[in-house]
């Protein structure tokens, strides 16, 4: 089951322009096997022996999107890092399991984790400039992933990196390829970061506050791009944000987190329109007060 799902996805070219290596075999979304299964994950800080994340569970199948909402410090980012196997020092998963494409992350050797990252699961973050090496042009950093993870030759990797840059809707991808992070804007950098993240055709992409620092129009473009990737490449997404609007646009299922606990979880429509927990209601009402209304009045004038 897993291997079948894998072959369907790796065969799907996210760039749409490059040659497909294996024949397409139906829509990926039909498989029921989750590509990511998080079960009652708890994360503990070893410094002061405190539990930071107190039981998070969700499943993600190809083509689906899970959203995690909560204020900063609610444990969203730590959960994502645990999934990627890159918890900061002195944090550990104290209970629960994480399965990526059927494999228990806790049982993997460091080498296997390295193999898994990038080609099965990848991530993009807030402040994209800092997640790219400032001393290397951005293009070669994408090509590097293709060479390492897909075993492509130098020129082939370069060609596909340029294609990826075009696929994330960057104008003049050849020029962007040779630019450094300090020569690009925030929106462009986030596109580059996404291109680098999907360069090895992962099945799950975690977008941790990926649109937070961007202005509203750019934010919308990036969300469109993510939706594109979900639809065309069958990518499963985990979208983490403190912003309900972002989650509402994209997600099938929403988790609302507060101080490490999941206070509400369910299909997006249900959570947004029939919130059961006070905290969720608070988030929604705040959003209506300060976010949407403001936005609407500006639209009208």
């Amino acid at each position: 089951m897993t291997t079948l799902a894998k072959s369907t996805l790796t065969g799907t070219d996210p760039t749409e322009t490059g040659p497909t290596e294996s024949p397409e075999t139906g829509a990926a979304a039909t498989t029921a096997e989750p590509v990511l299964a998080v079960r009652d994950v708890r994360i503990r800080s070893q410094v002061d022996d405190r539990e930071i994340v107190k039981g998070v569970s969700f499943e993600l199948t190809p083509g689906k999107v899970v959203g995690i909402v909560g204020e900063s410090g609610s444990g969203k980012t730590l959960t994502c890092r645990a999934v990627l196997g890159i918890l900061p020092p002195h944090f550990e998963v104290s209970a629960g399991t994480i399965h990526v494409a059927g494999e228990d992350v806790a049982t993997l050797e460091p080498r296997q984790l390295t193999a898994m990252r990038g080609s099965t699961i990848s991530a993009v973050f807030q402040d994209p400039a800092s997640y790219l090496n400032p001393s290397i042009q951005v293009g070669p950093q994408i090509a590097e992933v293709i060479r390492v993870k897909k075993g492509a030759k130098r020129r082939e990797a370069r060609r596909r990196a340029v294609e990826l840059l075009a696929a994330v809707h960057l104008r003049d991808p050849e020029l962007v390829y040779t630019q450094y992070t300090y020569e690009l804007s925030g929106g462009m950098l986030q596109r580059v970061l996404i291109a680098a993240a999907i360069a090895a055709d992962p099945r799950v992409l975690i977008a941790d506050e990926a649109t937070t620092a961007l202005d509203v129009t750019v934010q919308a473009e990036i969300l469109d791009l993510l939706a594109d990737l979900r639809d065309n490449a069958g990518l499963a997404l985990v979208v983490v944000s403190h912003d309900l609007a972002v989650v509402a646009q994209l997600c099938d299922e929403v988790l609302v987190m507060r101080e490490g606990e999941v206070v509400e979880q369910g299909p997006t429509e249900q959570v947004l329109y029939h919130p059961r927990h006070d905290y969720t209601r608070l988030l929604i009402s705040e959003h209506e007060q300060y976010g949407l209304e403001k936005f609407l009045t500006r639209e009208q004038s």
Binding site: Q46, V47, D48, P89, H90
Partner: protein, 290 residues
């Protein structure tokens, strides 16, 4: 700041060593059990009750020569440091306020001084301009002054451009108060660090020069000179260079330790020490090396 430096074990150790060396410099010549210049027939002997550190090739008492020579080294290092402070810090602070021409000129001069191999220059200048340890040290002080220039300039720039100073002035604080409260607090720690570092460099230079016999007249003992005379008789007394070398290294080490201690208590990490729990967490996060 002094109290906070002394609250660190390393700070206490550094100050302790430097004080001991200073005492040695002040009292050393008086403490010397024998005449440091008096020669005798039993040359190149090992340590004994009469000669704690043995005798040199002319039969002079090494221990007495060491004590007597400490003053030259300490005074020399102090001269280097004070010269560098005056020549570096004053233009460094003024370069922020005296206009672009002055700024450009002093920056270029600082660049140049850094590019000069200072031991070579110290040797050349001292030999050409007159053979005195004080001249040598003053020249060296000028050559190492860019450190003070940069440090004081950077600190002054940071203060001059900071908004809290502006805010304090707008809210009616007197200029004198602002300088005492903000400018001084910002400029003093980096200068103190530079002072301690330069003191260490000064000891190295003064002992290097006296090792070469530059700036001192032959019978007069110096730490470097002791080493130089030992070098010729290593075959007979291989242990002779041990004590003077150790003395030089301990002094330099104490100076560096003091610089680190000042940096520790005046920087961000120094403040975190007050909040011990947070500091511990930081330390753990940094892999136990703050």
């Amino acid at each position: 700041m002094v109290r906070r430096v002394l609250s660190l074990a390393s700070g206490r150790l550094a100050v302790g060593i430097l004080l001991a060396i200073a005492l040695l410099a002040i009292l050393g010549p008086l403490l010397a059990p024998q005449d440091p210049l008096a020669t005798s027939d039993n040359s190149l002997t090992g340590p004994s009750a009469a000669h704690w550190l043995g005798t040199d090739y002319l039969g002079r008492d090494v221990f007495s020569r060491l004590l007597d020579g400490s003053r030259v080294s300490v005074v020399g290092a102090l001269e280097v440091t004070l010269m560098a402070l005056v020549v570096g810090a004053v233009p460094g602070i003024l370069s922020v306020y005296l206009g672009r021409v002055f700024e450009w000129l002093t920056l270029r001069i600082a660049d140049t001084l850094i590019a000069l191999p200072f031991l070579l220059f110290a040797v050349a200048v001292t030999a050409l301009l007159g053979n005195g340890i004080t001249q040598a040290m003053l020249v060296t002080g000028v050559l190492v002054s860019p450190l003070f220039y940069r440090v004081s300039r950077a600190a002054t720039l940071a203060v001059a451009r900071s908004q809290y100073v502006e805010a304090a002035l707008i809210s009616g604080a007197s200029l004198g108060w602002v300088i005492r409260r903000h400018v001084w607090a910002k400029v003093l720690p980096p200068i103190a660090v530079a002072l301690a570092q330069t003191l260490g460099v000064g000891f190295i230079i003064v002992s290097s020069l006296s090792f070469l016999g530059i700036g001192v007249q032959p019978p007069e003992p110096t730490w470097g000179g002791l080493l130089a005379s030992d070098l010729g008789y290593l075959d007979y007394r291989p242990s002779a260079p041990f004590v003077p070398a150790l003395l030089i290294m301990a002094t330099v080490w104490a100076s560096n330790l003091l610089a680190d201690a000042i940096r520790d208590v005046s920087g961000e990490s120094g403040r975190a020490l007050v909040n011990t729990r947070k500091a511990k967490a930081n330390q753990l996060a940094a892999g136990g090396t703050a």
